[in-house]
């Protein structure tokens, strides 16, 4: 049986409580008691796109950061392409591309090309291979015109595309995206989603796990949806199956019913 692209089993993560003042000095050594993830289990198959849907603080970013080897799990396991994120982080990093929509993470005074070449070579691409991939990705992501400009002069939308290109430079099997359209305006976000769908997902050789609380984004991109609330995985299935299971007609309703929430304002509160 083929190993799934991503396999998460009974994953738990707790953090030490946040401290201020002099107590901040003991915080790094405190026992982790604040639960962020609790018994999360799911798989992502080869070429599949799975969305993590949940409110702020639900544990989506924590989960992605564990998979990206930036956090250590408290218990359970997280595997990418058959490699354990805690025990074999270098092998995991060989197989993944990571892009967080919240920060840019580029050297502002280097050009787009210089940044991409630097990160590509740190991912052990030869100079020639890095240059070739940069040319390919620049064409694919419509970045050719801006590649030789310092990244401090680029717009947020362009930086997002550049960041996605960086994540794909070493042709990873798995792509992790954390709220990829968070800092984009509506038009740029729509472009970015279409681009992701046509350029990354359609070819079918990259598995995608992405966190979002933008429902149209989830509906457009995801083959299956994992709904997370307060660190617990409530459901993981296709949109059709989730609607069928909850008797809901929209993804919003699915989420509210599974999370046992009611909206703060109903349609009746809207002014006539």
């Amino acid at each position: 049986m083929t190993e799934p692209a991503i396999a998460v089993a009974s994953l738990e993560k707790s953090f030490p409580p946040t401290r201020s003042g002099w107590r901040a000095f003991v915080q790094p050594f405190e026992k982790p008691t604040v639960v962020a993830l609790s018994g999360v289990t799911f798989d992502v198959k080869e070429g599949e796109a799975l969305a993590l849907l949940g409110a702020n603080g639900a544990g989506k970013s924590t989960l992605l950061r564990i998979l990206a080897t930036l956090l250590l799990p408290t218990r359970g396991s997280a595997r990418i392409a058959g490699h354990d994120a805690e025990r074999d982080p270098r092998a995991v990093r060989r197989s993944l591309g990571y892009h967080a929509g919240t920060d840019h993470g580029f050297y502002a005074r280097l050009t787009g090309r210089e940044n991409l070449r630097f990160f590509g070579q740190l991912n052990h691409l030869s100079s020639a291979a890095a240059n070739l991939r940069i040319t390919q990705l620049a064409e694919q992501f419509q970045l050719a015109d801006i590649l030789d400009r310092q990244t401090r002069t680029l717009s947020t939308g362009t930086i997002q595309r550049l960041s996605l290109a960086r994540a794909l430079l070493h042709q990873p099997r798995v792509l992790l995206l954390d709220e990829p359209t968070r800092s984009l305006d509506a038009i740029a976000a729509m472009d970015f989603r279409r681009f992701l769908k046509s350029q990354i997902l359609r070819p079918g050789d990259t598995s995608l796990l992405f966190a979002s609380h933008t429902l149209p984004e989830v509906e457009l991109l995801a083959d299956r949806i994992a709904i997370i609330d307060k660190g617990r995985l409530l459901a993981c299935d296709t949109l059709t199956a989730l609607k069928h299971r909850t008797g809901a007609s929209t993804l919003e309703e699915v989420f509210l019913r599974l999370a046992g929430r009611t909206p703060y304002f109903s349609d009746e509160d809207a002014p006539a």
Partner: protein, 271 residues
């Protein structure tokens, strides 16, 4: 090995390329070095006397003695600063996470980020000494350059351990650089920067024995001002290498532990 060297070169290239976008700053540093050298020259002229020359371990003028002390303290400063400054810059720019998800190992990232700052500091020292030699009679002609290079390397290795310890502290506690505070404080009094350690009270001389700066300056002055070879400086050189042998692996282990703690506490990118 070739891959490690290539990765180290990548970091050096990155920092050099960024530095090249700040050309005026480079020119200003050369001018600043001129003023700094002139200041030491005139202080030297003001205090110079036959008695003072006799009191200096390697002989020569107080200008030469103090200039070497000052520029090599700059080296220590850079060593203590470099690691935590590059870490803080990476954290603030958001590049730290992206570096840590590459296939390059942590020791290479840490060492690579220090290469350019060390090279720039070495260049700055060379500029100070060049101004001293060209305009103020600093005796560069008597230097033993091979010994100078070896002492420089040993100094760099010994001080780097302290710098990495300092970066570990920054990873865990987010602010402050106690290693720099302690070492600069200790070295300004008990390191032999502007006056010989021999004039200090016994207890401070005892303390100076635990300061790598003392050995670095002893060896560097002997090599630069008196042209000493390895046979003359083997003792301070061996002690410097001993500092490096103990401090570097300890510091790397502490840094790896601190990074692991931040991956447990989730504070890697917090500032």
């Amino acid at each position: 090995m070739i891959r490690v060297l290539r990765d180290l070169w990548l970091f050096f290239w990155r920092d050099l390329t960024i530095a090249r976008t700040y050309r005026i700053s480079f020119v200003l540093e050369i001018v600043e070095a001129l003023f700094g050298t002139a200041m030491f020259y005139y202080v030297g002229r003001f205090v110079d006397s036959p008695q003072l020359r006799q009191a200096l371990p390697q002989g020569g003028t107080y200008f030469a003695f103090s200039l070497v002390g000052f520029v090599f303290l700059d080296y220590m400063n850079a060593s203590l600063d470099t690691f935590d400054r590059s870490l803080e810059e990476a954290r603030n720019a958001g590049t730290l996470e992206h570096l840590l998800v590459t296939q390059t190992s942590l020791p290479v990232i840490v060492a690579g980020s220090a290469l350019y700052p060390f090279a720039a500091t070495t260049l700055r020292i060379a500029v100070y000494l060049a101004w001293g030699a060209i305009l103020f009679g600093f005796p560069l002609q008597s230097a033993n350059w091979l010994t100078v290079a070896v002492v420089l390397l040993a100094t760099l290795l010994a001080f780097s351990g302290l710098g990495i310890l300092s970066a570990s502290y920054l990873l865990l506690f987010k602010r402050g650089n106690p290693a720099k505070w302690f070492m600069l404080g200790l070295s300004s009094v008990a390191g032999g920067m502007l006056f010989p350690v021999s004039i200090l009270p016994d207890w401070l001389q005892f303390l100076a024995r635990f300061n790598p700066v003392t050995y670095s300056l002893d060896a560097m002055r002997a090599a630069l001002l008196a042209g000493a070879g390895f046979s003359a400086i083997w003792r301070p050189l061996a002690i410097l290498l001993l500092f490096a042998a103990v401090l570097l692996p300890t510091a790397m282990a502490v840094f790896a532990w601190a990074l692991r703690r931040t991956k447990i506490t989730g504070t890697l990118t917090h500032s």
